[in-house]
């Protein structure tokens, strides 16, 4: 296992990335040692439950798919988590301990996720786990985390309907993405009719359920609702139906490889999104996905997220440049990647507030943890373990970036069990 720690990090790096890595390790060595020399709480006090904490190190787990179909989406999260860990180490680590990570591959297979989660908690005794992407993988590991009392930082925007004491949800639950987006198209674009479209699984179905309730609450109309199997590649029929129904807004929650097929076929069918007739609003296409779709094929679409790579603030500029320094200039950063980056930082803040690595104390300390260095701006953990965050609307540009056209004034309160939307 000791091999995998070092190789896990270095294995996939190009030479340039490796050089950058070496450079940052030497910075870490010079910056880290004085910090360690300062008063450091003894291990026996800050680790009473036998986690993998030594006098100098603390071990955490990273659990994502790096093989299989989901590797497409999860690669960015792994990169962000490694960046955050490296930066924290360069600042002296957590409670004077340098973070080491053990990376496991969920292989896009839910039982494998459960198996690896158990391994990380039972055998490696990691102090926290950053990982999972799909709802299915989270559902598979959830009983494991609850049984062995681990802490999972889960980065993806998801359907809600869940509030586990053993998970911190750093992405948005459904209402945080949906409601402000629909309000915005209704108010700013005068949208009256909506066509809801999604891949056929729990997240799009739950999200569309909330969207439909909200649309009807606003007195507007849903003219169609459709689901296609995951991995579906032929969308010509639904495009015809959309053309027939002439909705003001296509509300699309298509994921994975289907995404690419859908947007390419939409463009080829002559629906020009830049004309906004109909307007396309999505909550599933981040900058990461646009790489596969091609910026020219989705130009003019709107996305409701909490983070865009183009956000104009100091935190984000630094984050983007560090990310590119570590992983290459051609990288793009999407909403989930940023949420994954928050995980290690939120954990660090909670551990320091608790003054302990013990899971129970970290959980107790987690509510109201604030982070004003987040690339998305200020975030705060709600007692329900989700984050307060803003909803932003981005307008897709041909270069594959979003231009932020709107953001909510206030932070949106996370509400995983929204009253009146179920």
């Amino acid at each position: 296992m000791t091999h995998s720690r070092s190789r896990g990090a270095g294995f996939r790096m190009s030479r340039r990335q490796l050089m950058a890595g070496i450079a940052s390790i030497s910075i870490l060595a010079s910056a880290g040692i004085p910090a360690l020399a300062q008063d450091k709480p003894p291990t026996s006090e800050i680790n009473t439950t036998g986690l993998a904490v030594t006098d100098d190190t603390v071990t955490v787990g990273i659990l994502h798919s790096i093989t299989g179909t989901m590797a497409i989406s999860e690669t960015g999260s792994v990169q962000a988590e490694k960046l955050a860990i490296e930066q924290i180490n360069a600042m002296g680590g957590v409670l004077g301990r340098k973070i080491e990570y053990i990376q496991e591959d969920g292989a896009s297979d839910w039982p494998t996720f459960a198996e690896k989660a158990k391994k990380l908690l039972v055998q490696d005794k990691v102090a926290s786990v950053f990982g999972c992407w799909t709802s299915a993988s989270r559902k598979a590991v959830l009983p494991v985390f609850e049984q062995y009392n681990g802490m999972l930082y889960y980065p993806t925007f998801y359907e809600g309907l869940e509030e586990s004491p053993n998970v911190i949800y750093t992405g948005q639950e459904a209402t945080q993405q949906i409601i402000a987006g629909i309000d915005w198209v209704a108010k700013e674009k005068g949208a009256k009719t909506f066509y809801l479209l999604g891949s056929d699984y729990i997240w799009p179905r739950t999200s569309n359920k909330i969207a439909r309730k909200h649309i009807e609450k606003l007195g507007l109309e849903v003219v169609g609702e459709e689901y296609y199997p995951l991995g579906h590649t032929q969308f010509n029929s639904v495009i015809n139906k959309i053309r027939l129904k002439k909705p003001d807004v296509i509300y699309a929650i298509v994921v994975g490889g289907s995404n690419v097929a859908f947007y390419k076929q939409l463009k080829a069918a002559g629906i020009d999104m830049t004309k906004e007739k109909p307007l396309l609003l999505t909550i599933s296409v981040t900058e990461d996905e646009i790489r596969g779709i091609g910026g020219e094929n989705i130009e003019g679409a709107y996305a409701a997220m909490k983070y865009f790579q183009s956000l104009d603030n100091e935190n984000n500029k630094e984050f983007v440049s560090e990310f590119k320094k570590m992983w290459g200039d051609d990288m793009v950063i999407g909403d989930v990647t940023q949420a994954a980056y928050l995980g290690p930082w939120l954990w660090k803040a909670a551990v320091e507030k608790a003054g302990s690595f013990d899971i129970d104390k970290v959980r107790e300390a987690s509510p109201d943890i604030e982070l004003d260095t987040a690339p998305e701006g200020y975030v705060k953990i709600h007692p329900n373990h989700h984050l307060w965050s803003k909803t932003r609307i981005g307008h897709a540009m041909p270069d594959g970036q979003y231009e932020v056209v709107y953001e909510t004034e206030e932070l949106m309160e996370p509400d995983p069990f929204p009253e009146g939307y179920q």
Binding site: A107, P111, T134, K139, P143, I202, P229, L230
Partner: protein, 378 residues
């Protein structure tokens, strides 16, 4: 049935059985911590499928690339019972419709579908674990074998069935849990299956059932039926012209393999605590074939060792080098097929068995017989 010339096991056969039982029931439980033991338990559930494949594919020449279907159906039947037990109205009080499984509530299903109702009863669920996959296998087998469809064409049809069933399960998420599967299973008749003690007990149940299945498979193999099966594989037409109903034999062995796979699936659900459609699909179905191939497609013992070996390699490799693992797995497929078609058992019989026999001093007529039993193709 000519029992005299065809004993249940040869002397070395009994020895192999004793070694296997010792490894599974003594060595593993003593040497491994509960976590690793549970992992081995999970691997053993795949070995049920591999056993069935040895009979079906190795001996009968029927390659099914859809064994995951039966594994999955068995697992789902078990999971439905456990899920209903976990979804008591008290446990699910926060749902808009308490008392139904959580995924149904999320999908706006407001009442338990009628075909879920019988799964409240454990005896029915256990019966269904075997019956549902076997009936399904019978339908497929009857349709294919009575029309003399076989070989590669049968393999791809079973594969298409696996693909279709996966899409069906994922598409009907209100009733099946969709792509998430049926998760968060907790108790069996009030007995918490998530504790380490429970997992250890389940391991022993699983290992015991596996050995029983091995004996049953061996019984089939040494019977007249087993001989006929090999005859069908080698010269189907001659068997048919001798007046045997070839299709009936093939249907039987296919159903038998399905039943074994289903037991494996049910044990999987119990030990892992959930069932997901990813087991029903093409990929796991083919992986299970490779377990049998690595062990040696003709050897029942080989199937179990092959399953353990491939899964052990998969787990330990993928912990350190996930990228290399896929190359290794792909390479293994190719190498086993091209260079070692008889797998571990073939290598053992060729190189090790004679030496061991000589060492034991039992290298007489008896062993030559055991030899040909373990590897009847040679």
């Amino acid at each position: 049935m000519n029992a005299m010339s065809n004993p249940f096991f040869t002397r070395s056969g009994w020895l192999y059985l004793a070694i296997l039982a010792a490894i599974l029931l003594v060595v593993f439980p003593l040497a491994l911590d509960p976590f690793r033991l549970n992992l081995v338990g999970k691997y053993l559930t795949y070995a049920f499928v591999a056993l069935g494949l040895v009979l079906c594919w190795g001996h009968g020449g029927i390659l099914s690339l859809g064994q995951g279907v039966f594994f999955g159906l068995g697992g789902y039947c078990m999971a439905m019972f456990l899920k209903l037990e976990a979804s008591s109205p008290e446990n699910t009080a926060i749902q808009s419709t308490p008392g139904i499984p959580d995924f149904m509530d999320w999908n706006q299903v407001t009442a338990l579908p009628w075909w879920w109702e019988p799964f409240r009863s454990l005896p029915f669920a256990l019966f269904a674990v075997i019956a549902v996959p076997v009936i399904f296998a019978f339908i497929i087998g009857f349709a294919m074998f009575t029309r003399r469809v076989g070989g590669v064409y049968f393999a791809i049809i079973t594969q298409a069935v696996a693909a279709i069933l996966t899409i069906l399960i994922i598409g009907q998420q209100g009733y099946t849990g969709g792509v998430n599967g049926i998760t968060d299973l907790r108790t069996l008749l009030g007995w918490d299956i998530r504790t380490n003690d429970a997992k250890t007990i389940l391991y022993f149940v699983c290992a015991g059932l596996l050995i029983a299945s091995l004996l049953l498979s061996q019984a089939v193999h040494v019977s007249k039926f087993g001989r006929l099966l090999i005859a069908i594989r080698d010269k189907e037409d001659r068997v048919r012209f001798s007046g045997y109903n070839v299709a009936a034999f093939k249907i039987f062995v296919f159903c038998f393999a399905a039943a074994l796979a289903a037991i494996g699936g049910a044990m999987f659900t119990l030990q892992v605590g959930f069932m997901s459609p990813s087991f029903v699909g093409i990929v796991p179905s083919i992986e299970m074939v490779i377990f049998a191939a690595v062990g040696g497609r003709l050897s029942l013992f080989g199937a179990i060792y092959g399953t353990l070996l491939v899964n052990y390699a998969k787990t330990s490799f993928s912990e350190s080098f996930p990228e290399l693992w896929l190359f290794a797995m792909g390479g293994l497929f190719i190498a086993v097929v091209m260079a070692f078609p008889d797998g571990i058992a073939g290598l053992y019989n060729r190189y090790l068995a004679p030496h061991i026999a000589r060492l034991l001093g039992t290298m007489r007529k008896r062993d030559a017989e055991g030899h040909s039993l373990a590897n009847p193709a040679e």
